[in-house]
């Protein structure tokens, strides 16, 4: 079984479009959406949710005002500015360290477990999908990513799948690092803009940091040929494979509006381009 992750560094370069297209043309696989705080893959794969689970993670402090003698000790030790002058907890700022509860002499603070989101195992037209929804303004997206990854891997092992195809989050922080662990190949999709090139370099760095095989896709490569050349030169110098280039096409935006994977929707050369990329990956 091969685990393939699609990431980008910069957001909006085409991760989900590529993931959904791979989902549509590959055989015998499980899909995962690891962009748990702004998940979009379901808008193309239209999952039918089979199993739904609570994601409990971390704790938040709660003050019982009846016991509180307003000594101020909790506010003094809290490093997250989460305790107001009225000794109430700002649950958004609270990182659940529990120090306030430890130092409270009147036992007025308890630590309550957070319900931070939900995760799902679904059926789609193209195979099973494991996805999640982080609660509004919740933390621990990295842990939720690790959870859906683990569930998908177990499902793939049970069903003897050949691939786990993973839609990754943008950036290089906590959820990306959780997405990268144990991956066989990271497909990094970029665009020929200065921002695209800048963010690509950092995305490559993070993948190399975890010693993961990389393949680069340049999306909308014909929008700025100079920058595409710069990306190609950079990849040549650093000995990283470019596994595909996709031209700009308004058909791709239309495929999103229609909720159909681009590889099936686009009647122009986009589909062939994406198929060629998948041939190189598999």
């Amino acid at each position: 079984m091969k685990q393939i992750l699609i990431i980008s560094g910069k957001g909006g370069t085409g991760k989900t479009i590529l993931t959904a297209s791979f989902a549509a043309i590959s055989k015998n696989k499980v899909m995962v959406d690891c962009d748990v705080d702004a998940a979009d893959l379901h808008l193309i794969l239209h999952p039918n949710i089979k199993e739904r689970y609570d994601f409990k993670s971390g704790k938040t402090a709660v003050v019982n005002p009846i016991f509180c003698n307003k000594c101020g000790k909790c506010q003094e030790v809290c490093r997250f500015d989460a305790i107001s002058d009225a000794f109430l907890i700002d649950s958004i700022s609270c990182e659940g360290c529990g120090l306030c509860a430890q130092v409270c002499q009147s036992n007025a603070i308890i630590m309550k477990e957070n319900l931070s989101g939900e995760w799902y195992v679904s059926d789609t037209e193209y195979g099973p999908l494991v996805h999640a929804k982080l609660g509004i303004a919740e933390e621990n997206s990295g842990k939720l990513v690790a959870k859906v990854r683990q569930v998908a891997k177990e499902l793939a092992q049970k069903e003897n799948s050949d691939y786990v195809i993973i839609d990754g989050p943008p950036g290089i922080g906590c959820p990306v690092i959780a997405s990268l662990s144990g991956i066989d190949m990271a497909v990094i999709i970029t665009e020929p803009t200065l921002s695209g090139l800048h963010d690509l370099k950092r995305a490559i760095e993070i993948a190399l940091h975890f010693k993961i095989l990389i393949g680069i896709v340049i999306n909308k490569y014909d929008l700025n040929v100079d920058n595409t050349n710069k990306i190609e030169e950079f990849c040549k110098k650093t000995k990283i494979d470019i596994i595909g280039k996709i031209p700009f096409s308004k058909e791709v935006s239309k495929s999103i509006v229609n909720g159909i994977p681009a590889v099936l929707f686009c009647k122009n050369n986009i589909a062939e381009n994406i198929r060629n990329i998948w041939e190189k990956i598999k």
Binding site: G11, L99, Q102
Partner: protein
């Protein structure tokens, strides 16, 4: 006044809006809080005058005093310490810096006072200027897990004598909240596609939970469908600006050139938008004053 620019979905045009708004106004400070992938400097091209390291704290155990009682492991909510007690051999305390939130629980609660806090670098903060524009950004070290502490440190540079514009990271979780918290207004940038709308709705829930006044900019407003417009109308969300797709803007963006530097019309539109943001707030302030 502090204005943050955010969007659930990446690549909708946060940096474009933040940069062009900053360049259209007088007396501005621009803070790039997308510390995982900062891009604003590519357009602003500031002269960097100061570069400092940003740190968090992690515990260090003095094992000549430590009795391996296990208290630090017990109080750590993040499993950042593991105590292996001494039996015949000497015990040890393992520390996992990437899991540590720097809350200080182990340090404050160690019965032996065997723990001190040491600094660990998580990134750098650079500041500089371009003409009258002040610029600050944070760059997270590659491999570093937690960006919110760095974002909070970038925001310590806020200059209250200026109009402050904050470019936030994409998403809806902790880094975004760290960036937009305590700002006076949040501009949500979106695109009129199902992806854009789905992520916009999530972001609206976040700004509402944080009680930040907000409005929407629809970028590439002529691609996709009209569901974003309908959503805004039904939910009484002001649309501050619509930016149609233009090959010109896309080309300038790809070269790192802010569109307001090339096109005065856009500058006027950004100034107008800023006025529309400023005045409702003035009105609200006077409403509040009247009540008081």
């Amino acid at each position: 006044m502090i204005i943050s620019v955010a969007s659930g979905k990446g690549g909708t045009g946060k940096t474009t809006v933040a940069v062009n708004l900053a360049l259209s106004l007088e007396n501005v400070q621009l803070l790039d809080c997308d510390v995982e992938e900062p891009n604003a400097h590519l357009f602003i091209k500031p002269e960097i005058k100061e570069k400092i390291s940003a740190f968090t704290t992690i515990p260090q155990v003095d094992e000549t005093i430590c009795t391996y009682c296990g208290k630090c492991q017990k109080v750590c909510a993040y499993n950042a310490l593991a105590v292996i007690p001494s039996s015949k051999k000497k015990g040890t305390v393992l520390i996992f810096p990437h899991l540590c939130h720097g809350c200080g629980a182990c340090y404050l609660l160690c019965p032996q006072k065997a723990i001190k806090e040491i600094k660990r670098e998580i990134g750098i903060i650079e500041s500089g200027t371009v003409a009258n524009l002040q610029f600050v950004h944070g760059i997270l070290n590659v491999g570093e897990v937690m960006s919110p502490p760095l974002i909070r440190q970038v925001k310590k540079h806020i200059n209250n004598t200026k109009t402050v514009i904050i470019d936030a990271p994409p998403g809806t979780s902790c880094p975004v909240i760290a960036a937009i918290k305590n700002t006076d207004f949040c501009i949500l940038v979106t695109e009129p596609t199902p992806f854009g709308l789905n992520d916009l709705i999530l972001t609206v829930e976040v700004v509402r939970k944080l009680n930040i006044p907000f409005g929407i900019i629809i970028n590439r407003s002529d691609i996709g469908d009209n569901k974003t417009e309908v959503y805004c109308r039904e939910n009484n969300i002001p649309i501050l600006m619509r930016i149609p797709f233009s090959e010109d803007i896309a080309r300038l963006y790809s070269q790192g050139i802010p569109v307001v530097n090339e096109n005065e019309e856009y500058k006027k539109e950004f100034i107008q938008m800023f006025e529309s943001i400023r005045h409702p707030i003035k009105r609200r302030m006077s409403d509040i004053m009247n009540i008081i």
